[in-house]
Symmetry: C2
Subunit: 325 residues, 2 copies
């Protein structure tokens, strides 16, 4: 299958690496809204201007759109889905139904197939929730994130006056995790599930106490959590906080049998050194499925729920039965 | 959907309970090879003779076959797949390809749809392996079972002269699990992954030392493991070892990025109070999918790999996008 990347940031670079691990995939090119001459890819794959993408229509089986969910994807995915089979990682949960409708209309009109909201959350975590709910109708869902870097929360700290740089780690609270894993089905508040650890580089002469207060009282982002703030130097930031680890787990705790006498716990957990590279690896596997489904004549928009797992694998059905079942 | 149970042991009773948790499912009846008058169901569902199943052909959307993999299912599933949409939990991994061929031929000939090897291993563990392999092509798989009762190993102990009853627990070794979860990708021998704990009721005057030796040196079952043998009374067996808990986890540890610099761990873990009831809950969710796919005109045999997750859920695609993605 011939893939292309639209948008070349951390996620796009991750897709470039992921394609190299899949011998049945070939990377046709990277499309960027920057000056193509200014972009150097990791593996020497050609770089084109975003505006020229239509000229490459016939060379691309699936276009992987690597943009932000706030402003990029709501415009890009519907615009491109008319002419390309596309995969995106749109992750604003509340706006997924509207995004789906827009992409579905475009893809159906163009006779193409699209997949939205692919990655790990939404994506693999959504699948974990859905399978577990179908198996244990009588139960309770829990999602924990971390330990990992939240880009949105890091950005929010950077907007505070006097802050030069910041990194925020979301940290699940071990005692809450243990209670959930025990099958006790606890009711947990926001504060009881996660801590927020902040590392901040302050400008010289900045009022650190004011910065700390501004962080800890910030509504939506930090006010509902126990938050720690640690001031560090720019060198320490670079040395110790350059990576983008993340992860978390989806747990469903449920009951079966006479009067729900038997408890069961289903857990799906991820521990990721690189959030964007893992997300990219998920995108490439699902691009394979979209390519196959499009070849079978399917059109319109899909989510991860509608993809038969076998379509993600380079193995044949027979090989899968023999080696994975 | 109208379901029926063929074979009424622990698994069949589990299916009966699971149907009660699914408002869109109705249990038409239980079919047994025993005298139907001797079987009392948990919920008052009618019991019929196995030989009369064809007379109920038009009342049943999916027949869930609850039999043993050694001798029952290789015969029953192909025989029934000609006239019914069927789901089974065939779990002899090495014989799955042959079982698939037999069931596929029967189902295709009868214009019916069948699903084999459904449950948690094979089943949900197979899906966990397949998804994780598709996402991380460069990596290593690990499966740990337990802490849980192995029926096969318990039966093997019961066949030793002087043994009245036995229960064998498979126990994953914590240090091995920790090494795998760390991303270190260790090479582990059979002995390094699991312990086997045996509880044995000996006949009066039996040679306990001989029984212990017979267990610990039994090829295939125990010789390759560190095994503990504890003699208990029949009352202790009943009081402390009547349940059938099980579980385990599938872990894939893999790398992405430049020179595989970033490590990732994907883990799917189950902790089950009742192995048969959980397996039954999986069977009922997949029976829903088989019913829907059959209504769309599909025929032949499938595995869990070929079932789109959305087909397992009672929710509509729109509800799934809104609540689970």
């Amino acid at each position: 299958m011939k893939l292309a990347i639209f948008g070349y940031g951390n996620l796009g670079r991750g897709v470039e690496y992921a394609v190299q691990q899949n011998p049945d995939a070939e990377l046709v090119g990277v499309f960027t809204r920057r000056d193509p001459a200014s972009v150097r890819t990791q593996t020497g794959v050609p770089v084109y201007a975003a505006n020229d993408v239509l000229a490459h229509r016939d060379e691309i089986d699936v276009l992987i759109i690597c943009g932000g969910s706030a402003t990029d994807l709501p415009v890009l995915t519907p615009a491109l889905a008319k002419d390309f089979c596309v995969v995106d990682s749109f992750d604003t949960h509340a706006k997924i139904p509207a995004h789906f409708e827009a992409v579905d209309a475009a893809a159906a009109a163009g006779g193409k197939l699209a997949l939205i909201s692919c990655g790990w959350d939404p994506g693999m975590f959504s699948l974990a929730r859905m399978y577990a709910n179908a198996i244990l109708p009588d139960g309770k869902d829990y999602t924990f994130w971390g330990r990992g870097v939240s880009q949105g929360h890091s950005d929010a700290i950077r907007r505070i006056p006097g802050v030069l740089d910041a990194r925020q780690y979301t940290v699940p609270i071990e005692s809450a995790l243990a209670a959930v894993r025990s099958g006790a089905q606890p009711e947990l508040t926001t504060r009881e599930k996660h801590l927020r650890e902040c590392y901040v580089v302050a400008a010289e002469g900045a009022d650190k106490q004011a910065i700390e207060t501004a962080i800890k009282t910030m509504p939506n982002y930090f006010a509902d959590y126990d938050t720690t703030v640690t001031f560090i130097t720019a060198d320490e930031m670079k040395a110790n906080h350059s990576a983008l680890p993340h992860g978390g787990c989806v747990i469903r705790s449920g009951s079966t049998g006479a009067d729900g006498a038997h408890r069961h716990t289903i857990e799906y957990a991820l521990k990721l050194d690189s959030n964007p590279e893992f997300t990219a690896s998920v995108l490439v596997a699902f691009a394979r499925a979209i390519h196959r489904m499009a070849q079978r004549g399917e059109t319109g928009c899909r989510t991860v729920f509608e993809i038969a797992p076998a379509d993600l694998s380079p193995l044949t059905r027979e090989q899968l039965r023999k080696s994975m079942l």
